[in-house]
Symmetry: C2
Subunit: 263 residues, 2 copies
């Protein structure tokens, strides 16, 4: 974050690589969409109105499709491409995007402001991206839109910014990102697994809590406060306990099993 | 460029790839230096005071050396790292850097403002990076600093911004970048090859005029104006002629031989 002319400028940069963040052979238009959405999701979590993006583009399998997807996603969000660079290189395609925006509320929400006694909320279900990924990977023809074309919750983030004590987007899995928020805030979260809305069959609930890329917003509110947008209460902030996350009362080990550490 | 709170924010993004922009096996600290300097040089050409950078970093041959070089170059310029992302991926290392800054003069200098009658200037000699590259490539032990650790001319750019009609940094070669400026301005430049200061033996003058990465500033001034910093007059802007560049009176073909098109 940067102060300029009385405004708070929020900046984010995400890089994505072929074979790590997207499948080789995946539609390049979808890759452009996701690259932009994942960055704008970071801005959404800070209640930030996007001003533009800059792209670092390594030529890849289908540059025309990438450009088409880029134009589509930027038009969707009404965000301009401010600049960037193109390069040719061998090996896996690597893409980078910088997004910047103007904070709509001060202080800018962070992941470190949750306090014991706060309630813990999520804006919507998790697991849809997981199903979409599987459909795409396995070629089943089932709906893969949630994985291919996630939406950044910009309006929700802006509405929430004045109300929350902490906020972040869930890109690496609910439990992992919640543990990061709890740790950054110096507290723990008691999460009720059955309170988490899921977009998958019940027997896959545990996986959905650990799968990322749904880009829902995770936030905390002072006790008794109601969120200004549709959201689901999934737990409570408590004083620092045996682990950052107690799931249905059980401390969760952080070194494995909470989510996608390497994304 | 972006207006924010009464300030003009200038943004630039450069990407670099192993095997294209730097040699495999080159000191990663030098790569960090060049990545930052090349972006800050873009800001210098716009008379912009840097506010910070964001890095997209793909893990490479020596991450500790890269980090050491990054810290060194950021300290050199007094510029903070505002954010970024790290990824692991196979293949050639690809790096991206976004730099942003505050314009110190309005209008912000561009490459499109040169007018017939203007004089054409360069801040210093070209060719030193070429010699440095050769020393490094051939392992001669000769000085390679100019290639490895170019300097962004931030103070010069800021001093020049109120005076120039057009300005850009020379990253791809004097003749190529001058032809871009002439074309963007809708005029031609008559360049006197012997007036160009060179850091190489006389018999390599033609090469030095076509080799990039010295990051000198190229600018135009109204007829009769003197530059506020040390600079060398290399030519004159004339009405659009047979080619964007007349070198010693000879129109230069643009499709080859002016500089490094693919950098």
């Amino acid at each position: 974050m940067l102060e300029l002319g009385g405004e708070a400028l929020v900046l984010t940069h995400d890089a994505m690589a072929e074979g790590v963040h997207f499948l080789p052979g995946q539609d390049q238009a979808d890759i452009a969409w996701k690259l932009v959405s994942s960055n704008l999701s970071d801005l959404a979590a800070k209640g930030t109105d996007p001003l533009g993006v800059l792209l670092g583009y390594q030529f890849g399998a289908d540059d025309a499709r990438f450009l088409a997807g880029l134009e589509e996603v930027l038009a969707h969000y009404g965000v301009p491409l401010l600049g960037g660079d193109t390069i040719g290189a061998t090996g896996a395609q690597v893409l980078g995007l910088t997004a910047l925006g103007r904070a709509t509320h001060r202080p800018v929400p962070s992941r470190s402001g949750a306090q014991a006694g706060d309630t813990v909320w999520i804006t919507g279900p998790v697991g849809a991206a997981m199903l979409g990924f599987e459909a795409l990977r396995d070629g089943t023809g089932a709906d893969s839109l949630a994985f291919r074309r996630p939406r950044a919750l910009l309006a929700e983030g802006e509405a929430l910014a004045p109300a929350v004590t902490a906020m972040m987007d869930i890109s690496d899995g609910l439990l992992l990102d919640a543990s990061r928020m709890a740790r950054a805030s110096g507290i723990s979260f008691a999460i009720d697994s059955t309170a988490v809305p899921i977009a998958v069959p019940e027997h896959r609930r545990a996986e959905a809590l650990r799968w990322g890329e749904d880009y829902q917003l995770l936030f905390t509110l002072p006790a008794g406060a109601e969120p200004p947008v549709t959201a689901f209460r999934v737990g409570q902030a408590i004083p620092s306990a045996a682990a950052p996350i107690l799931l249905d009362g059980q401390p969760q080990r952080e070194d494995s099993g909470l989510g996608y550490e390497h994304r």
